[in-house]
């Protein structure tokens, strides 16, 4: 790692007149493989080193990054950054950072089986095993795309206030798209799995039977599925659907930088205002958190990319809007302190306010008890198409695996039920919350240049009362 170089950059920037300086040195390495229709399409490995530096001079902020790790290059870039900050201070909005405790820490997510030590032949076997299982499964899947990757990210953060954080976080990921054909119709399913840890996680995914199971379910949906009822019905949403709703309609609008307008020309702004804290959104059994500390999660970290200690944030507590997501800049603007939500995709990106793992906390009912209580409803287990407006109000989730519920019993599959609603209606419709949280993976996009960061989203199964499905 480049700890000495990062410390050098911070000290050099301060010496040149920066009021604040921070450096994030990163080293990452990993492998990736993809398979298209049974053919190993691509295989490769990456090793990357780089450093990202932020300085504040007279209230103006500059960010520079490079993979040229020499003191000479860094000196030149920092000189330019300090000069540019000094010049722009006359026209720039003043940026201040909220106070943060001085942290010094070193942590590592352990790998029981180090991905870097697994032979690449063994890695591609995982993909060929899926293909073999699908061939045996007698489901028509004319198009299949799978990718499997692993990466270890070593990071060292240092700032002019004395903060020093070292971390080692290993990731594994599987992404896929399968196209199922049945009776002349097709359906598609995208599956994404991301976790932090070693290769033992990939083994635990049991990809062959998982993918075959999804394919059979979709085939059955095409064969036996009927349209959703036209009248208002109860909707029982499983963790995958709950998760995307928590991410899109709670996590994003609670990002303080959006609320302050910093994302206006990119991911948009928000229906939320700081004055809405304390307003009721849902019944008292609804609690939504963002928590980077979930072991094994894709959004795992103990200190954020500004060196602030991470913690669980209660975004909705007892049904009431409770807290926003902050980095040090937004926290200062809204007269609070950072709750450790600053993340950067990599050394080339500035840290901005991000989610980690956003989920609904469990209630007391089992999924069976929730379904038992439904006279006429639709159970939506998974989804494909979704979107939401840039203020995070008007949202749509189109079901993939779905079933009709009649008098507490699951009956036939339902084809593509469309849940098109608003954030306010969604939350006021939550009538029951299950007792078991399920997590799903996603890549969250925000910022410019676009930063995609790994996250989890989830929750238990919930019941939404009296919804009109499309």
């Amino acid at each position: 790692m480049h700890e000495e170089l990062a410390d050098f950059a911070v000290n050099y920037a301060v010496g040149k007149g920066a009021d604040y300086a921070e450096a994030r040195a990163e080293h990452s390495e990993g492998t990736a493989f993809s398979m298209k229709n049974g053919v190993l399409h691509a295989a490769g490995f990456e090793k990357e080193d780089g450093i990202g530096i932020r300085v504040i001079v007279g209230g103006a902020m500059q960010f520079v990054s490079t993979n040229e790790l020499s003191k000479k290059v860094l000196r030149g870039m920092i000189d330019s950054a300090v000069r540019a900050a000094r010049k722009s201070a006359r026209v720039a909005a003043r940026i201040d950072l909220s106070d943060a405790p001085l942290e010094k820490a070193r942590y590592e997510v352990k790998q029981r089986v180090r991905s870097g030590e697994v032979d690449s032949r063994g890695k591609i076997e995982e993909l060929f095993d899926i293909e073999s299982e699908l061939k045996e499964g007698k489901v028509s899947i004319p198009a299949r795309f799978f990718s499997l990757s692993d990466e270890v990210v070593y990071k060292y953060f240092s700032n002019s206030q004395g903060c020093r954080i070292s971390s080692v976080i290993p990731y594994v990921g599987f992404h896929s798209l399968i196209t199922i054909c049945e009776g002349g119709q097709t359906a598609q399913r995208s599956i994404q799995l991301d976790e932090t840890g070693g290769w033992e996680i990939v083994k635990g995914w049991d990809l062959p039977s998982r993918i075959l199971g999804e394919a059979k379910t979709l085939s059955n949906n095409l064969k036996c599925g009927k349209p959703a009822p036209k009248c208002r019905v109860d909707v029982v949403a499983a963790p995958e659907v709950v998760g995307i709703a928590m991410h899109e309609s709670v996590g994003h609008p609670y990002e303080a930088d959006r609320i302050l307008g910093r994302e206006a020309a990119q991911a948009g702004e928000s229906f939320m205002t700081p004055e809405m804290i304390g307003k009721r959104m849902a019944e008292e059994f609804v609690n939504v958190v963002d928590d980077p500390g979930v072991p094994g999660s894709a959004g795992y970290f103990l200190f954020d990319d500004e060196g602030v200690k991470a913690r669980r944030k209660y975004l909705i507590k007892d049904g009431v809007i409770n807290e926003l997501l902050h980095n040090r800049e937004t926290a200062f603007s809204l007269k609070t302190i950072s709750n450790g939500s600053a993340r950067a995709m990599d050394y080339q990106c500035e840290p901005i306010v991000r989610m980690s793992n956003t989920f609904l906390l469990p209630g007391e009912l089992s999924e069976e008890e929730i379904i038992d209580d439904v006279k006429l409803g639709v159970y939506i287990k998974s989804f494909m198409e979704w979107n939401i407006d840039d203020k995070r109000v008007n949202e749509r989730y189109v079901g993939c695996e779905s079933y009709l519920i009649k008098n507490g019993e699951m009956t036939h599959p339902v084809k593509k039920p469309v849940l098109e609603t608003t954030t306010f209606d969604f939350f006021s419709s939550i009538k029951a919350v299950g007792d078991k949280v399920g997590y799903h993976s996603g890549t969250c996009g925000k910022g410019e240049p676009m930063q995609g960061v790994p996250v989890w989203m989830g929750g238990p199964t919930i019941k939404l009362g009296r919804i009109r499905l499309g």
Binding site: K36, V39, L40, A43, G44, F45, E46, K47, E48, D49, G50, A60, M61, Q62, F63, V64, S65, T66, N67, M77, S80, A81, K87, S88, V91, A92, I95, S120, R121, I124, A143, F145, L177, I178, T179, T186, A187, Q188, G261, R262, A264, A265, Q266, G268, E350, E385, N387, I388, D389, D390, N394, R396, V398, K416, E420, T421, D425, E448, P449, G470
Partner: protein, 446 residues
Amino acid sequence: MGDTMDFALLEKILRRARELGADDVVAIGEEVRGWQVKFVNNRIATGMSSYDNEISLFVSKEKRIGVTTIKEFSRRNVEESVSKLLRFTKKMQPNEEYAGIAEGPFRYKVVKGVYDGRIGKLEDRATDFIEEGVNAALAEGAKRASGVLRYGMKEELLVTSNDARSSERSSDMYFSIRALADKDASGHKVCCSTTLRNFSPEKTGARAGRIAKMALNPVRGDIGRYDVIFDPYPLANLLNITMDSASAFAVEAGFSFLRGKLGKKTASSAVTLVDDGRLPHCLSSSKCDSEGVPTRRNVVIERGILKTYLHNTSTAKRYGVKTTGNAGLLSPKPWNAVLSRGDYGEKELFDEVKRGLYITNLWYTRFQNYEKGDFSTIPRDGIFLIEKGELTKSLKEIRLSDNMLRMLLNIAALSKKQEQIVGWEVEIPVITPHVLVKGVRVTKPT
């Protein structure tokens, strides 16, 4: 081996890979300098600059394929990376679809207007551009404006084991501004260029500001089927997806609604859609693809008929055609999407609409089924009701929920004037006029 990225280094890497047993080798070096200034609520927020260089390396060995990127050019690291890549590749399974890389050498013609050395020396002019854009938006009625100014310079070198050798410099500029006249009234515009000529943040800011003012006091839109005029900015989002779908890789992997449509009607006869890697002044134009094949103009949809997919050497062989000069390091990729102009003036286009919508921006386009083309997308910023050719109301909270093929088939008219667009959700440059699409399905929360 040296420690600077130049032809000598690329050729040494190539020779070393061949010595270690590689059949085909492609080495592409890139040196990139980039700058960005973000502005928020009329004020500069953060300045950014970056400097990176890397060599992307592709090798094949008995149809086994491996790739890596070398980012540190010390003799030791380069040797380790090349030898590791060969060891790694030899362990892979053969890719029976792989048919090699194109045979060089090639003669290249320079692509005009893709480099302007002044862009690397903008300095204070960057702040001026932002002030001009923001002030123009405010003068038109906006209360605040946010966005970015981005500019960069790139130098790219390519060598292949089949005797291709190319070098190219390019530059780019991009300005994105979202003007807000109220919480619910906004307009978003972009401008982009390869040179300082034709780059006008002031005009762009004014256009965003005008839309924001027109969008004041929106009412909720109604569901139904509407004739929709798409501004170039939102249409670029959909044409980017269309051209991505023309890659033979997307077709085979299930990501394309153009699968099985070669030679068939996939759009109205008013539509001719071209991928043109040699288009002067276009942000992605380049004289060759990643195999070193000279780029060319590919007519993908001609008067509504799908004529070709985009190919590299391997996919072209499977389809019994020649490469279209669209090779990426692993898969075919589009250079851009150019929708041919029509013969309508902008006013004439609006006059065609008795009752319809004018959409100025889209985002969050997501598919239920890529192969069928079923999708929805969300209009954002100014959305307007058109009645008898006039904009009569500002609307909000609607969604377009339709099918890509149906929409392409329902394109009824195109304007005369084209615009080059890139954006937050438009990754390849799209050159398009305003377009009228008949009968687009609009939904909203129930």
